[in-house]
Amino acid sequence: MTTVTHPPARATTTPTRRRARPRSGQGTYWLYLVPGAVLFIGVIVVPFFMNLYYSMTRWPGIGEPRWIGFDNYTRLFADDTFWLSFRNSVAMIVAMVVVPTLVGLLLAAVLFDYLGKRFDGRVASGLRATYYLPQILPVAVAGILWGWVLNPQTGALNVILRNLGLESWALNWLGDTGTALPTVMLVMIWVQVGYPVVIFMAALQRVDPELYEAAELDGAGWFRRFRAITLPQIKPETFVVTLTCTIAALKVFGPIYVLTKGGPENSTNVPSYFAYQNFFPKSQVGYGAAIAMVLTVIVIIVSIIFMRVQAASERKEGI
């Protein structure tokens, strides 16, 4: 948090540095970019354009790809599973962005502003670490743990429900088209909620306490201060959290692979898993590549919109 960028500060230091820097041999700095650039071109740029090419071919992965132009894309837009997978992306955004950000904001405010001031500092940081714990687990490990908890026959949840006499509540959580998506969403909320808590708590630390003291003297209650000071002050972090989580939600793969494999009846399928299915089990590389390209375009559009909105709000506040 000590590294927050303050554009005005930077603008004043830049000219001095430029003047002081010796101008001779400026070109040699390029050399330091060579290893990174070569790797970058080999692993990102070339594969990306290869994928773009594949998306316009019919290719089972062996033999020669056959050029078919935009056929994969027209086929995609008529494919119900494709649209379903994007509807599920919206559900993932709710579970990975909307709910965690709102809950995380309140938790961070309560931990930092309320509990942190009334109890030993270790109470707040201990709770923060606990909320964050699911975030550090490999998703496959979290998935296999939840897969067992939610198993219809031997899973802990249903065994507990049956022991409590709630036999009718013991559902096939991940195996039923009606419950699979909400269940996956709950698991994702569990995974995600700690991330905004950590970021927002750090953000709160850099807010000037005098603002709160002044508001308090003016008789503003906790909620008023939260709305008038906390929310506007931590706006930059809110942008970052919502942007990174939205991208993560659009790209989500591991939890789907481990928990449901997109099933039942595609009710939990998402674009990245749908692409994977076409690449490997179905050997429809061209079609998979087209799905991946559409997903890429959406991710880029979302990122650009976020950055535009962020820049606009910073201009408005005259930062």
């Binding site: 700095y29 970019l33 290893p35 790797l39 970058f40 290869m50 743990l145 569990w190 690449f279």
Partner: protein, 302 residues
Amino acid sequence: MSTDLAVADRVGPARGGRTGGATAPHERLRRGPGRWLVLTAAVLLAVAMMVPFAIMLLNAFKSPTDYSTNGPLSLPTSLYTDGLVNFWNRVDYPGKLVNSIVISGSVAFLATVVSLLNAYALGIGRIKGRLWIVMLFLLANMLPQEALIYPLYYLAKQTGLYNTQLSVIIIFTVIQSAFGTYLLASVFSTFPPSVLEAAALDGASRWQVLWRVVFPISRPTLAVLVIFFFIWTWNEFFIPLVMLIDNATQTIPVAIASLQGDRLMDAPTINAGSLISLLPAVIFFLIFQRTLTRGITAGAVK
């Protein structure tokens, strides 16, 4: 959640009415029963989040018969370690652990070096078009891995790198260093110029400035990157799943996912397996908690 807020809101005005906010605020705040209610709510939520871990721990040392007769909530009747042994042997846990360490360790080191070199050129060298280059790196970091995976899979097969740890190491070195470059370049753009001038006056070359001046000063940031890259790579799933099909090369996440739907896996084995699979991540987190928190937040505001 709504209860937390309601309580907090009720307590708020009660305090707001008092004057003299500067005099011993902590003494003042440490009174009142409301704080215990909020604490209880926060702790209850934390406990609820820990329930999956708690029942995992409870069932990792139960025998299958114990589990089927007494259910998941009872204490184990005896200490049963066969689940642990089964899992350990079935997935060759030590082998997978070594694979994960080799891959994540190499990526953490290499990606940090690449990030440092890139950021030196972009942040300190301020070469032309640096904004575009940084944007390009950032874009690559946001790119869905699905848009790269098939070509990478195909290229790896062509070059004989398929199913080798080297393929995964190279790929993640690039992906992680894309983020590292972005972060470090903006840190370096505020590097104190007087330090660089002094080094230049002493006749230091670019290479010497990098290793004798920039590197030592930025060591704390680099340490954060190393830890981050290590954990991110450790937890990666998609690319290792595609690239590492062989038992001898797989990482822990891929190995445990491949056990899924294995009918031989009884509840204690699943639990014991989950337990020892998440231990490395938890231990790492406990050791580096402070650095990580600092790093997440540094990344957030860049």
